[in-house]
């Protein structure tokens, strides 16, 4: 079975430092990690491979330094990794990102199964997975909390919905986005880490993808950020003083009044 896992390198912390002149995020020097949701996607791929055999290809779109993250993904069990890196990808919104990823996946050869984390902790959109599925013409299932069974033709999963949990089956190829509950990611072994160091990361540029530049990067994005700013945390905090009894009494009075409707 050919399994592809989409992964993303995200800032380790959510603290956004803004360039005071351009109002854009300063990314250099910030520590980066594998998106936490993607860790679970990778782990699930490793488990599926252990069960039914096959190969795992990790794919990411990022800056050259993202290769470090890919080595980590290989260390925990991926067989190979593709790094889509090119200035032409800069400024991509989710649509442009999904467009580039779909071209790379098609070029590499359609997998049987694509796994993604539910969302990335920097953008928080949860859009790229479903968009990628749509562009590849395959079904997608989001918020997968368990893989019930898998054959070379179909997959059955538990999907967290707004009202509970659905058990559904899809014919392969299909794309799943996974939630944290699905597994507990394992740490890499020493052998894994060495394998990660030794493996050649395959670099993919815009030219390799056969897409014209108007579909990539800023130009290929359907959305534009027109401004970004720190939210106004001008806050009026009312301090409730006194002994615990007095504080409790005051709070209950506030709750009973119209103040917190």
């Amino acid at each position: 079975m050919k399994i592809t896992v989409c992964v993303k390198q995200v800032p380790a912390s959510n603290e956004a430092r803004l360039d005071p002149v351009t109002n854009t995020i300063i990314r250099d020097g910030a520590k980066s990690v594998l998106n936490p949701f993607d860790e679970h996607a990778v782990e699930e791929a490793v488990r599926i491979k252990a069960q039914v055999g096959g190969t795992i290809t990790a794919v990411t779109m990022g800056i050259p330094a993202a290769s470090e993250m890919l080595r980590r993904v290989i260390a925990v069990g991926a067989d190979r990794a593709l790094l889509l890196t090119d200035r032409a990808f800069a400024g991509s919104d989710t649509l442009a990102t999904a467009t580039a990823l779909s071209a790379a996946v098609k070029k590499d050869g359609m997998p049987d199964l694509i796994l993604c984390g539910k969302m990335a902790t920097d953008g928080d959109t949860a859009q790229v997975g479903p968009m990628l599925a749509e562009l590849l013409g395959i079904p997608h299932i989001c918020n997968v909390s368990k893989i019930v069974s898998i054959t070379d033709k179909a997959i059955t999963v538990c999907e967290n919905t707004d009202d509970g949990v659905n058990t559904v089956t899809a014919a392969l190829p299909a794309l799943l986005t996974v939630v944290r509950e699905i597994n507990i990611p394992k740490l890499p072994s020493i052998a894994g880490i060495l394998k990660g160091e030794a493996t050649q990361i395959e670099t993919v540029t815009a030219a390799d993808l056969n897409i014209t530049s108007e579909h990539l990067g800023l130009k290929g994005s359907a959305t534009r950020v027109v401004s970004s700013e720190r939210p106004n945390l001008v806050h009026h905090t009312v301090v409730i003083d006194g002994t615990a009894d007095e504080q409790a009494k005051k709070l209950l009075a506030i709750l009973d009044s119209g103040e917190v409707r």
Partner: protein, 312 residues
């Protein structure tokens, strides 16, 4: 020329989801509103959509529409009617469906908008949303393609009351049979849902003891609310994931969020969209106090005993 605003009418186990009505209300500020349902609507549902602001209602004919079928059906309707804007509730369903529509139509989608308004000069929809866990507010537009699609979480906007009588158009929806088969559906009936709670009493690492968690739950009950928690409580196996509030847990939008022993880390607060936040913590420098509307510098256990005593 007024914008033609479509609002996707989403059905849950209990009928039309409240977020649909909230978006119709917001939609009335943005242009003329058409509520679109791929499922056929009952008379009562039509009345509800009308009264909450829909100028027009499109009612489809698909008995059962999952995410993929809805993408098919909606794309067909969008191609036929050409709305300027499409608003979708950022429910699990909506967040799975909207990107599929955006990708198929090659148009822009902005997720989890907290602000929507029409730019006076360009007529475009300005979509504001938090990024980096809420540390940044970005305003986004979709300048070249239609529809401009936005998803919005429940309770971000409020529904309104009007005396509209919407025009109803019943349509046939073209959709391929879904490639996904539903084998079993387990509904959360009666189980805890922190996402819908009016009041949340939320515990963090500073709660102290298991006994205090029990008291916190009791307080929640007395206030007509539910117990929730920050991530460490789940990671340590103390409470189940269903109760986790935060960026990697659930986003909650209660009227009252009572944070007990929660430090207020950015990743936690990113999941809190409460109307009023009350923080109880012994650490005067805890970041939560920057978010709190009411600050109580007190030990959680002591406070809980005191307040439960007075609620007897």
């Amino acid at each position: 020329m007024k914008n033609n605003v479509w609002v996707f009418c989403e059905h849950g186990a209990d009928g039309i989801r409240p977020v649909t009505l909230e978006l119709i209300g917001k939609g009335t500020e943005l242009g003329t509103v058409t509520a679109v349902s791929v499922q056929p609507l009952s008379e009562a549902e039509i009345k509800s959509l009308s009264e909450t602001g829909a100028d027009r209602i499109i009612s489809g004919d698909l008995a059962d529409a999952d995410v993929l079928t809805s993408i098919d059906a909606l794309c067909g309707l969008i191609k036929e009617y050409g709305p300027d804007i499409l608003l979708v509730g950022a429910t699990a369903f909506g967040r799975s469906m909207a990107p599929g529509i955006a990708a198929r139509l090659k148009t822009g989608l902005t997720a989890d908008c907290t602000g929507l308004e029409i730019d006076a000069e360009t007529g475009l929809l300005k979509q504001t949303r938090p990024a980096f866990g809420g540390n940044l507010m970005a305003t986004i537009v979709c300048p070249d393609t239609k529809p401009q699609i936005a998803t919005v979480r429940p309770k971000v906007f409020r529904s309104i009351q009007t005396d509209n009588h919407a025009e109803v158009i019943r349509v046939h929806c073209e959709a391929a049979p879904s490639p996904i088969t539903l084998l079993r559906q387990e509904l959360n009936k009666g189980e805890v849902s922190i996402a819908d709670a009016d009041v949340l009493v939320s515990v963090g690492q500073g709660i102290g003891t298991q006994e205090n968690i029990r008291l916190a739950e009791k307080l929640a009950e007395k206030l007509g609310g539910t117990l929730s928690a920050s991530r460490p409580m789940i990671d340590n196996g103390i409470l189940p994931y269903a109760r986790q509030v935060g960026q990697t847990g659930r986003t909650v939008a209660p009227r009252l969020y009572i944070a007990l022993g929660i430090s207020g880390a950015v990743q936690h607060m990113a999941g809190v969209a409460a109307k009023h936040i009350i923080a109880v913590n012994t650490d005067p420098d805890a970041p939560i106090f920057a978010y709190a509307d009411y600050a109580i510098r007190q030990d959680c256990g002591t406070f809980l005993h005191a307040i439960l005593d007075q609620l007897k």
